[in-house]
Symmetry: C2
Subunit: 473 residues, 2 copies
């Protein structure tokens, strides 16, 4: 069960952890991965958490078809241009060559909005607030587990509003949910902001994002929330009788987060012993391991363990009572799988009622009295969750640097990387040159950025705000 | 919002209800449907209920690829023959013609078992108990909402066991869960049993099923649970080191239930006013409707309604406080959507504290004291759930007939239909002839069928058990 060192070979370490912690595996289909039960259980926690947030905003789940007729996808020009190199196309169905090709959805704007257009009649039908959890396909030949796969799972929210303000409020609500999801559940700090013109979604007026910094100094885009303006509404002929009896054109948003986020989770928190999961997303939060003795008392020991499990039923707990594996093997196994807390129960613990508790994130041992174990565990899990987040907050701060000189920029990007805050004139040519020369792209313009007098780091022309640059996954 | 009468035109009535209760809609892709939030919310209740059952059996959720390489699907002969006429095939990916075609999964045996074969080493790895909730595609040109669609949602459980007995136990556990799901949640009685050779799953040794009878006298197969024997294990070269250090070949099962079941739900319980949902699957269980007066007191009325909603928070409750719709319109609207209980709140109810309560299934009005409303509602919802099930139990009994004469058989099948219990010699030729002549197929051999001395209803040769015959959806 050896895994590479995180510092020595980050990429190999990452793949080792994903494979050996049984999160995912390669499949016989190039570009597609299998999400194993351990990995999928994390995604189920994410779904639960995000469903609660969406429900608070009156968003409902639904399901739209996997296939999009080619003609429908072609309706919005920028959209189809953005996606056409990545499409999987069905040309044969039921043994016959199809008259019109069907595209396996890379995203569902077009198929959903064709329906919305049919449903929308009056302002009374607005807002339309629908989400779907599904699978989408964007062609890839190389697989990087979770991070780059041809098929991935996500949720895509698609809403329709009477006014632009209504749509913008939705864009920021969704982004707020994502920020909450990443900070409070994934325990990963990041920077929210607006994407540049060249980085925004194909067909959107504006794209907002939550950008995280991975331990190797590369950025990972956590989600996107788009203001679609009236672009798709016009193309799909969406109209409604407004409050004044006139014909209105609605305003739209779309937003999504995918299983890529599990890749970010692994990279951010994992260590040389494997996965480290934040308590809120851990399928198993506490593992109880009885230390069997060859001689005696194992029955009593097991009874104690299962009673302990029962008193911890507010949490997700397992007892590892396998008799054919050593205690050391079990410790390694559950560390590898990232379980936040391990409780070791031997004869000593049975006698004293003081439980030996090890937290996975810091590998620190402490004792908790069996009498106060429920409260103690609640506090410990909360503390672990918080400490894990704080660690990423420090890392983000330490690795976000202000630069005003392009040679510094290049030097940093070729060594330690990280987020660089640099003035940019907002000319796409400069953005492209920087990317060609340093592999760093604009990640976002952070919200509430100051307007200052500055000079574009590339061309020296006037610039008024510092953008975040980074090399990105 | 007029819908056809259930007795006059059952098929039109069904489609009217599905469309007008906002359960689903036709999509721009022939054969594919859109499941609208109202319909999807029912599916979410089903998922919740079934996840609990599966978890009790230690089954875990996971996710496997959408695409299956053609060569992999072709490995099991009976399997590929069964599915090949229904396949959707991807021939273009990322702008290039593919060297090997990819099949959009019609079911996932082959892709999952290729992985299982890789994972399985020792008896310690067994049983493998994995389920996935996903979308599958089986080519269809005609759409019958929920009942016949090219793409549908389902769960597919796939397990691997050391022994044939272990696999058989799993087959019957899964079927037991389905029976529980249909009887306790969908409130639909049915008959469980074994499929005939010609009706079993392509590649299975034995297929078990839960067959329900729709109000038009036609059968609907509710689910299947298959004993796959060692067929796939051999084809996919699945082996394991057994407890005696020898090489064993494992035994497998697969089992599934799909969104077709929502079609059964609509057909079984609906009436001329629309949908009737059993409380356990109803997204909204109780609708509170304030009877606004033009003159006064509406604020007090609303306050009362929301306080009532608060005291009913153990249930899924909504208050319809829209001011631009009449009370009568709202009654119709919520009846159409099948909400099990309506509470009407007017000035009278405010004064007396006696609430007017209408149950959807029987359209019966009663009063419940506001003081005991929580208990009263719990009892009422339970009673509705039970009454709805009992009604289907009576219907099933009344429409399951023993026949021993083929002219009776033909006569019944051409008029009132229903389930017919008839001796059959188990020769596929007789089965085929009966189907050609009456459109009735064997639905199942019920569990615990008596072994008797009988004569095949078609050929008169020796037969020992009565099979269930019906025309089927």
């Amino acid at each position: 069960m050896k895994i590479a060192k995180k510092k020595d070979d980050f990429s190999k370490w990452y793949t080792d952890v994903v494979l050996k912690a049984d999160l995912a595996d390669y499949s016989p289909v190039k570009g597609c991965m299998v999400i194993k039960p351990n990995g999928y259980a994390v995604w189920e926690r994410v779904q639960e958490a995000f469903n609660v947030m969406m429900k608070s905003g009156n968003v409902e789940n639904a399901y739209f078809p996997l296939f999009i007729p080619e003609s429908l996808l072609n309706k919005e020009k920028a959209h189809v241009e953005g996606f056409s190199p990545e499409l999987a196309v069905v040309t044969i169905g039921g043994g016959e060559k199809l008259k019109e090709k069907l595209i396996v959805r890379p995203t569902s704007e077009t198929i959903m909005y064709a329906m919305y257009s049919k449903w929308l009649k009056s302002w009374r039908d607005l807002p339309i607030l629908i989400n779907q959890w599904n699978n989408v396909v964007r062609w890839e030949k190389r697989t990087y587990l979770f991070l780059r796969t041809m098929e991935f799972l996500w949720q895509e929210g698609h809403t329709v509003h009477e006014t632009h303000k209504g749509a913008l409020d939705m864009v920021y609500s969704a982004l707020g949910w994502y920020k909450n999801l990443y900070q409070d559940f994934y325990a990963i700090d990041g920077i929210s902001g607006i994407k540049s013109k060249s980085e925004k979604f194909a067909g959107a007026e504006m794209t907002t994002t939550y950008e995280m910094l991975m331990p190797d100094g590369k950025a990972l885009q956590g989600c996107t929330s788009h203001d679609l303006g009236q672009n798709f509404a016009k193309v799909f002929d969406m109209k409604f009788a407004d409050r004044n009896g006139k014909t209105g054109i609605p305003w739209q948003t779309s937003w999504g987060v995918s299983t890529r986020s599990i890749g970010a989770l692994v990279m951010t928190h994992g260590d040389d012993n494997g996965l480290v999961l934040p308590p809120k997303l851990a399928p198993t939060q506490i593992i109880i391991i009885p230390i069997f003795k060859k001689s005696s008392n194992n029955e009593k020991l097991l009874k104690f363990c299962f009673k302990l499990k029962e008193s911890l039923k507010a949490f997700r707990v397992k007892v590892d009572d396998r008799e054919d594996q050593s205690v050391g093997w079990k410790y390694n196994q559950w560390e590898l799988r990232g379980v936040p807390v391990r409780i070791e129960i031997g004869e000593e613990e049975l006698k004293t009622g003081k439980l030996a508790v090890v937290r996975r994130d810091k590998n620190e041992k402490s004792t908790i009295s069996n009498k106060k174990v429920e409260e103690g565990m609640a506090n410990l899990l909360e503390k672990i969750q918080k400490d894990m987040f704080d660690k990423t907050r420090r890392f983000l701060k330490e690795n976000t640097r202000v630069v005003d000189d392009y040679s510094d920029f290049k030097q940093i990007m070729s060594t330690k990387r990280g987020f660089l805050k640099a003035f940019w004139c907002e000319d796409p040519d400069c953005e492209l040159k920087i990317k060609e020369e340093t592999k760093a792209s604009t990640r976002c313009l952070p919200f509430n950025s100051k307007v200052e007098k500055g000079k574009c780091i590339y061309c020296g022309r006037k610039a008024s705000q510092r953008w975040i640059f980074a090399q990105a996954y």
